[in-house]
Structures are given as structure tokens and as C-alpha cells.
């Protein structure tokens, strides 16, 4: 029923979501920690900039990214100079776009997790002779396990559901930028409803399963991800 291009789209989508989520966890963790321990009157401005992808229509975000990625723009120019090919309509461009698009979904759980972590645990760890790195891996990471899993799960799921941004900056190149949602759109345009049904149902079930797992985990861990306080 599904041809090879569909499997390519599934593989590409999973690869994009996994890579984006890993990058988000790696780069957003220090940012969230800094923000959770930062007091400044400009903090609301900073926080709202980081939350913008939540409320902006994805096409707006995609449009600005497209402009930035163009070879006339310093960003696009710099990328071309570094790698030899352009950033727009490439897989790397999709990763950058997804990173920005899903950033709030990684940032929010981590930020609230870190804010609600009693800082005295960290103080005790320091007084017991732990270095900062050691404190992070032995104390903070295990204590904030739930926010980390939620941040990873949500950014993964959100990246899989991405459509508007990909449409603007990725185009529709099979094996390079044709992710599931785009492939689905194409099937509908070509009136291939059977394939569209298969893809839609697959995405629906997958998203449902992922969310159920996240909720189940939170129920067990005792930390709700919407209200991480106890």
C-alpha cells in the first residue's frame, strides 16, 4: 500500500525529530538553568522571545527563516561559505528550523523543573565537595528526570507534527526534506486518499502512543509535567 517514498518520509521524519530533540536537550539545558537562576527586569522580554514560536503561525516563522537562509543574507551566506551548499531546502536547514520551532517545548518543562528544584540540594552537594559537573549529573539530572523526559518527548512529538515551517524552508524534496506531513499533503493534492489515510492514521496513532507514555510516566513519577510542583 505504501511505496518506498513513504518509508523514506517516515525515516526522514524520525531522523529529524531525533536529531532536533537531542540538540535541544543539549543546548537548552544550560539555557534553562541560567534562566531559572536569573533575576533581571529584562527577563520577561527574554522569556517571551523564547516563547514566540508557541504562538506565531508557523508560516511566519518559516518566512523569516527563509529570508535568513537565503544566500543574500549573512546567515545563509555564512553557511554557504562554510559548507558549500545553501541552507534553505536542505536537511540541515530543516534541523535549524525545527530547533527554533520546538525550542519552547524543551525549554518550558526544563525551566519549570529547575525553578521548582530546591536550590538547597545544590548547596548541600557543593558543601559535600561536589564539583558543578558532578552536581549536575549526580543530583540535578536524577532529581529532574521527569522534566528531562517530558522535554525530550514533547520536542520529539512536536517536531514530527511540524508542517508550516517545513513547507516554507524545506520544500518537498523526497529523501532530503520531504517529511511525513508534507508527503501527506502531497497525497491529498494528488487525490491519493488511500495513502493519505494510511499516513494520517499512522501519525495519529504514533502521537497518541507517545503522549500516553509521557502521561503515564508522569503519573508514576509523581511529577505532573503541567504542574511539576508536588
Amino acid at each position: 500500500m505504501l511505496e518506498n517514498s513513504a518509508f523514506a518520509a517516515v525515516g526522514l521524519t524520525l531522523k529529524l525529530a531525533l536529531l532536533t530533540s537531542i540538540l535541544l536537550i543539549l543546548l537548552v539545558t544550560p539555557l534553562a538553568w541560567k534562566l531559572a537562576n536569573w533575576q533581571h527586569k529584562l527577563k520577561p522580554v527574554f522569556m517571551s522571545v523564547l516563547a514566540l514560536p508557541l504562538v506565531l503561525p508557523p508560516t511566519v516563522l518559516g518566512f523569516y527563516l527563509l529570508v535568513a537562509f537565503s544566500p543574500q543574507n549573512p546567515v545563509g551566506q555564512g553557511w554557504q561559505w562554510l559548507t558549500g551548499h545553501q541552507l534553505a531546502f536542505s536537511f540541515e536547514g530543516l534541523v535549524v528550523g525545527s530547533f527554533i520551532y520546538s525550542l519552547p517545548f524543551a525549554l518550558q518543562p526544563l525551566y519549570s523543573g529547575f525553578t521548582q528544584l530546591d536550590k538547597r540540594y545544590v548547596e548541600v552537594a557543593h558543601s559535600l565537595g561536589f564539583s558543578k559537573i558532578e552536581t549536575f549529573f549526580r543530583i540535578i539530572l536524577p532529581l529532574c528526570k521527569a522534566p528531562f523526559i517530558v522535554a525530550f518527548g514533547l520536542s520529539f512529538a512536536h517536531t514530527i507534527g511540524e508542517f508550516g515551517v517545513v513547507l516554507m524552508i524545506g520544500g518537498n524534496i523526497p529523501g532530503e526534506t520531504q517529511v511525513l506531513s508534507i508527503a501527506l499533503y502531497e497525497h491529498v493534492e494528488a487525490l491519493e486518499y488511500e495513502s493519505a489515510h494510511a499516513l494520517s492514521l499512522g501519525l495519529l496513532l504514533f502521537s497518541f502512543l507517545l503522549l500516553t507514555l509521557l502521561y503515564r510516566f508522569n503519573g508514576k513519577g509523581g511529577h505532573g509535567w503541567s504542574s511539576m510542583s508536588r
Partner: protein, 408 residues
């Protein structure tokens, strides 16, 4: 030790204490800044300006300060909330503390036994009661082995008997391993019994620092402590067959005092080191912008091998009897001690108004009662009596009376 801590709008504390003081207590009304002072000393307050010399030797050789300080001083702080890491059990917490164990660290078994929590080893943290968790947190600090151990009301959830047992172990351990112990407690009796030195803090300012009796006398006169606590030290009498009662008797210069339990500090008296320990106590009050120095000399004689015992007596437990015939018992209250009245702190006599020195109105209880300072053979005892009794009995300085208090 010597410290100078400034935290904007909250603390401006400066004190010098002799190095011989191994166990130091910090007392003061709630909100005085005790916890902030400890946090600053531990380095947890980034905004605080802190200079601290734990051993207090920089005055002797000021040039050696930077060179001698090559090894950083490890400071352990145990909070009132135990802050045990909840992702591991008690054993896991101790194992984490042991990763960076210092030279003064106790073995896990030793620390658990001393803190009375051997049975908690494999328990998850959320199953512990408040008191159990506090004991485990203390054991964790001892397993880590800091050079300076600070306790911020760390044993507040324990009942008095267990707390006193663990404090005994703690003080002995710290003296044996040369760990400086600094504790904040609301329980003045604990502080008076177990500390070598006291620091009183009011509104972020040190109002008195030095030996326990001296600081207790200062805070009694300042009226910041409603119920001062006196320390009586005497020789422990061996139990004999002609006294079949389950009490310890203290020979207090000829008078016998009875106690349920005493804090024996025989280990303080090193038999071969009979010398006078001279201690200089400097203390400054910022509110009045003046500083004063008090010298006190303690003579510890080694001629008798008798064990010394301490009891702590709260002012509220002492009553005053003008009938000085104590040889014929006429009261159920066991302890009777002939004393001379040294001073009477009337609620409005000393301060000149019904305002305390902080400018706040005194609570009604302080208006109805006065603190009578009693002296027996150079040891001080406080009695909290009503102003009516003072009038009726015509109590005044110089009068010989008998202080009566129930056995401690």
C-alpha cells in the same frame, strides 16, 4: 575564630572568638539573621561580603595568612529541612557524601551508630519521619567529614532526650577530630550545655560574643531573651549505697544538687594541662557604633580527679525563698542553693521605658516579671519572678536568699 559578615539590609556581624572554643552556639530571636549568618559563612550567599578566619591565628602572624591557607577549609551545613537526596535511599545519600570524604570523615557505621539511625540505612527518603531524616542528614555530614560543621536547627524535630544523646556524641566527635562545630538552636539549654562559646545576634548585629556565662548574662540584661538559662558546674558525686535514688548528685561547693541527667564534661579537663586559659572577647555593636572588649580568665584546676558535671537551669524554673534555713527540708522542690542577689532587671527599670532596646513594645509577660540575677560562689543563676513578688519580699541587690528549682 574570627568573622566579619555583611549582607545588605540584613546582617552586619563581626565577632572574634578564642581558638580554644571548639563548639560555638548562635542564639537570637527569630528573624535575627541566624540562618543568613550561617549561610553567609558557608559561602551560600553570593551577595554577602564575608571574611572569616576559622582558626583565628592570623593575628599572631598576619603575614602567613595567605601562605598557610593553601588547603581550603571544608564547610558542611546541615539545614533544618534535612535535604536528603530523594532519588537514592539513606545508604545512597551516605555513599554520595563519602565520594569526597575528608580526613575528618567518620565511617558510615560509626556515623549511623552515633546518630541513632542504623535501622534507617535501606529506607527510602520519603518514608522517613522528620526526626529520622534530620538524624540521617547529620550522619551524611559526618561521613563527609568537613573541617567546620554548621547546624541550622538541624535536630529540632527530635525529642529532648534523643537530641541530647546525639549532641553528646556530636560534640565528643567534633572535639576528638578537631571539627569546628557551629550550631544555631532555639533551645538555649542545649546551647548552654554543649557549647564552649556563644554568639548572640539581634537584628543582624552581634550583641554579645564569648563564653557561655558571659553571653548569657549579656542577653539577660538586654532583655532580648525572655528566659535566660544558667549553667551550674559541680563535681559529680559517685553513687553510693546510702543513696538508692536514681538521681545524679552534684557537689556544688558543699551544697548537693540533684539531677536526672547531667552533661559530664570530664574530657574538657585535661589533667596535666593545668593552666589558666585567657580569652579575649571582642564584640561590637553597630547600632551604637562602639566596640568594647571584655577579658575573662578561667582557671581549671586539676587537683581533684573528680568528674565535672553541668546542668542548665532556666530562669523560669527558679523560685526565690527568703527563708535561708535549707537544712530542714520544707519544700518538695529538691534543689536549694543559698545565693546573693546581684542585680534585678526590672522590665522598665533598666530600659527606662516599656520599650525594649529595639524600640518595640515589650510583650506583656515581660512587663509582669523581672529577671533576678543570683550569685553563688561566682556562679550565676537567673530567676524569673513576678514584679509582685519582688515588691512583697522586698528583694534587692545584696540580699541573701535561697534559690529553689526542681531537679533537672
Amino acid at each position: 575564630m574570627e568573622f566579619n559578615v555583611a549582607l545588605t539590609n540584613r546582617i552586619n556581624a563581626k565577632a572574634v572568638l578564642p581558638e580554644s572554643m571548639q563548639v560555638i552556639g548562635i542564639t537570637g530571636p527569630s528573624g535575627a539573621g541566624k540562618s543568613s549568618l550561617l549561610r553567609s559563612l558557608a559561602g551560600f550567599e553570593p551577595q554577602a561580603k564575608v571574611s572569616v578566619d576559622w582558626v583565628g591565628d592570623n593575628q599572631a602572624n598576619p603575614n602567613s595568612r595567605s601562605k598557610a591557607k593553601s588547603k581550603p577549609v571544608r564547610v558542611g551545613l546541615v539545614f533544618q529541612q534535612p535535604m536528603l537526596f530523594p532519588h537514592v535511599d539513606v545508604k545512597g545519600n551516605l555513599a554520595l557524601a563519602q565520594r569526597h570524604a575528608g580526613e575528618k570523615a567518620l565511617s558510615i557505621d560509626h556515623a549511623l551508630a552515633g546518630c541513632e539511625c542504623e535501622h534507617l540505612l535501606h529506607k527510602p527518603i520519603d518514608s522517613l519521619s522528620g526526626g529520622e531524616a534530620q538524624r540521617a542528614a547529620l550522619a551524611r555530614a559526618l561521613v563527609n567529614g568537613p573541617d567546620v560543621l554548621m547546624l541550622d536547627e538541624s535536630l529540632s524535630a527530635l525529642d529532648a532526650a534523643l537530641r541530647s544523646k546525639i549532641l553528646r556524641f556530636l560534640v565528643e566527635t567534633c572535639k576528638r577530630l578537631n571539627i569546628k562545630l557551629i550550631m544555631v538552636s532555639h533551645d538555649v539549654q542545649d546551647l548552654a550545655l554543649f557549647c564552649d562559646g556563644l554568639v548572640a545576634i539581634v537584628d543582624g548585629v552581634i550583641t554579645a560574643a564569648g563564653e557561655v556565662a558571659y553571653v548569657m548574662a549579656q542577653i539577660a540584661s538586654q532583655g532580648t531573651l525572655e528566659n535566660p538559662c544558667a549553667i551550674l558546674e559541680g563535681k559529680v558525686m559517685p553513687s553510693t549505697d546510702d543513696f538508692p535514688h536514681p538521681f545524679t548528685r552534684l557537689d556544688f561547693s558543699g551544697n548537693i544538687l540533684y539531677a536526672k541527667s547531667i552533661y559530664a564534661n570530664s574530657m574538657h579537663v585535661k589533667p596535666k594541662q593545668a593552666k589558666s586559659i585567657e580569652s579575649t572577647v571582642a564584640c561590637s555593636t553597630v547600632s551604637s557604633a562602639e566596640s568594647f572588649t571584655v577579658s575573662s580568665t578561667v582557671n581549671k584546676s586539676d587537683t581533684q580527679n573528680a568528674e565535672l558535671g553541668k546542668i542548665a537551669v532556666f530562669a523560669s524554673e527558679v523560685s526565690i525563698d527568703t527563708n535561708t534555713q535549707i537544712n530542714t527540708p520544707s519544700s518538695s522542690i529538691l534543689n536549694a542553693l543559698p545565693c546573693e542577689i546581684m542585680e534585678i532587671y526590672q522590665p522598665d527599670g533598666l530600659q527606662g521605658s516599656t520599650l525594649s532596646h529595639l524600640g518595640q513594645p515589650l510583650p506583656p509577660t515581660q512587663l509582669q516579671t523581672a529577671i533576678v540575677v543570683l550569685s553563688h560562689d561566682s556562679q550565676t543563676l537567673y530567676a524569673r519572678v513576678s514584679t509582685l513578688s519582688i515588691e512583697r519580699l522586698e528583694l534587692k541587690p545584696g540580699l541573701n536568699v535561697v534559690a529553689r528549682f526542681k531537679l533537672q
